[in-house]
């Protein structure tokens, strides 16, 4: 793969992720708006959101001023091509930060200084997953406010009577939605992992946010749980931005991971309505072959 082509591809992938809301989420927001009473706070809030999304698209400007902590996932063969993609992502991040498309979102926790270019220790966060077939790259930007609302439960949890079964899982997820109220920029989208350990739970639950809102979980019981969560969360009355209304969640995507017999974690990655994510497949030269 060619370095300069790769850099152009990563620049285009990140720029689009930052400035164009994915179609499935726009459709879900439009549907949510139709459910609310015209003139209500919830209706007006969703209207402002939909107008703001169009403005960002028209002017090629960021959907949200919080352009998140960039997460990149590279699926490729474990060869030197990986390093080239990694380098291209870092360079694209620096360029887009200079241009004011990505906000300066990396602060050194010891000096409290903003690094100014969105790079720092372990930043940007780039995960590598060995895979066959053409190289695929996914980029996700989600707001820091929503990241703060993510939660991990170690079952059993007595306060909400969550035992070590799927009903316990349901209780934890609904509790997380209630705790978040509007502070994660509802209507939110949840990525959930049942099982795993502390670290894999967060990694895998966040990965679920790449799934299209319209897809159907191939595991029937998880599909049923996802639907139950969305329906019940929308009965909480939290509504857009927590100001009351019917739309509290746009979607919920759940996966599982094997667990240690002693541990039963439920990890909920809360994401804002402005969940920005795209994936591309690269061709052999490093150009974008197709958008996934």
């Amino acid at each position: 793969m060619d370095g300069s082509r790769l850099q152009r591809s990563m620049y285009e992938l990140i720029r689009r992720t930052c400035t164009e809301m994915p179609g499935d989420i726009i459709a879900a927001l439009e549907n949510a708006c139709k459910e609310e009473l015209p003139g209500s706070i919830a209706y007006e809030t969703l209207n402002i959101i939909i107008k703001s999304i169009s403005l960002s698209l028209e002017n090629t400007l960021p959907v949200c001023q919080d352009t998140g902590a960039l997460l990149a996932v590279i699926h490729s063969r474990p060869d030197e091509g990986f390093f080239l993609v990694e380098e291209a992502i870092v360079e694209a991040v620096r360029a887009l930060t200079r241009e004011g498309i990505l906000r300066q979102n990396c602060v050194d926790p010891l000096t409290e200084k903003n690094t100014g270019d969105n790079t720092g220790d372990h930043v940007p966060q780039i995960h590598f997953e060995p895979a066959h077939g053409p190289t695929r790259v996914g980029i996700m930007l989600k707001g820091g406010g929503s990241e703060n609302m993510s939660a991990q439960y170690s079952l059993p949890v007595t306060g909400i009577s969550a035992g070590r079964d799927l009903d316990g899982v349901r209780r934890c997820i609904l509790d997380a939605v209630h705790q978040a109220q509007g502070r994660g920029c509802a209507p939110g989208i949840l990525g959930v992992c049942i099982g795993g350990d502390r670290a894999s739970g967060y990694r895998l639950s966040k990965g679920q946010l790449f799934r299209n809102l319209q897809d159907l979980n191939p595991v029937p019981v998880l599909a049923s749980l996802e639907e139950t969560i969305v329906n019940q969360a929308n009965e909480l009355g939290i509504g857009p931005m927590g100001l009351g209304g019917k739309s509290t969640l746009l979607g919920c995507k759940i996966c599982t991971a094997g667990r240690h017999p002693a541990s039963y974690f439920v990890t909920v990655s809360y994401s804002c309505w402005a969940t920005r994510r795209y994936q591309v497949e690269l061709d052999e030269k490093g150009d974008i072959g197709r958008w996934i």
Partner: protein, 199 residues
């Protein structure tokens, strides 16, 4: 919805007249201030400009800087609750006219709003372009050491729509939504998830 036009700095009489649920259209001078600015002010720091009557906006804008000229490219609100440990103190000492952000604030801030005559204005999170469109001028910037998003930006806004969600009489929409949603949560927890049957 009916919109009430208000100008920042906001006159004390106007503040006391606002109630939860009022839609306002805000114009005038506002300042941004988020985590670093609040920590600075609450730990004895002097505000670089007089804050009395002004709107303090919880926002870390995206700004393109060209010499002494700045262009705001995105400017939605950040989560206000993080400033809860500092806000009551900031309100008492500097007497801003309104706090603006998203998600609402807690009991200490609510008391300070009542004691010192201030309101909380809610704007739509993530609607960064819609709001940036209403910022007509960047006047100046202070406390730049805090980094671009955390500096204090002095802005002029025109017809920015916001909702009063906490007023100077003890009313809070956030408090009532939290209580009602907790009741509904408890009802939902009483149901059981039955595998295979969709509810």
């Amino acid at each position: 919805m009916d919109m009430r036009r208000i100008i920042s700095p906001i006159a004390p009489g106007v503040i006391r007249d606002l109630a939860v649920g009022d839609m306002v259209s805000l114009s005038g001078r506002i300042v941004t201030g988020r985590d670093r600015v609040h920590r600075y002010l609450a730990s004895g720091g002097t505000p670089p400009i007089d804050l009395s009557g002004l709107v303090i906006y919880h926002c870390g804008p995206l700004v393109v800087e060209e010499g002494r000229h700045w262009k705001i490219t995105a400017a939605g609100p950040t989560t206000s609750m993080r400033e809860e440990p500092y806000e009551a103190d900031v309100i008492e000492r500097f007497r801003p006219g309104a706090i603006m952000g998203k998600g609402g604030m807690g009991e200490n801030t609510l008391s300070a709003l009542k004691d010192h005559g201030c309101v909380y204005l809610h704007v739509t999170g993530g609607a960064a372009q819609y709001i940036a469109d209403r910022i007509v001028r960047v006047e100046s910037v202070y406390l730049k050491d805090f980094g671009q998003p955390e500096s204090m930006w002095v802005l002029t806004v025109q017809d920015l729509p916001a909702l009063v969600t906490m007023d100077s009489h003890g009313g809070s929409l956030h408090g009532s939504i939290r209580r009602e949603s907790l009741n509904r949560l408890n009802t939902l927890l009483d149901r059981r998830f039955d595998e295979g049957r969709r509810t």
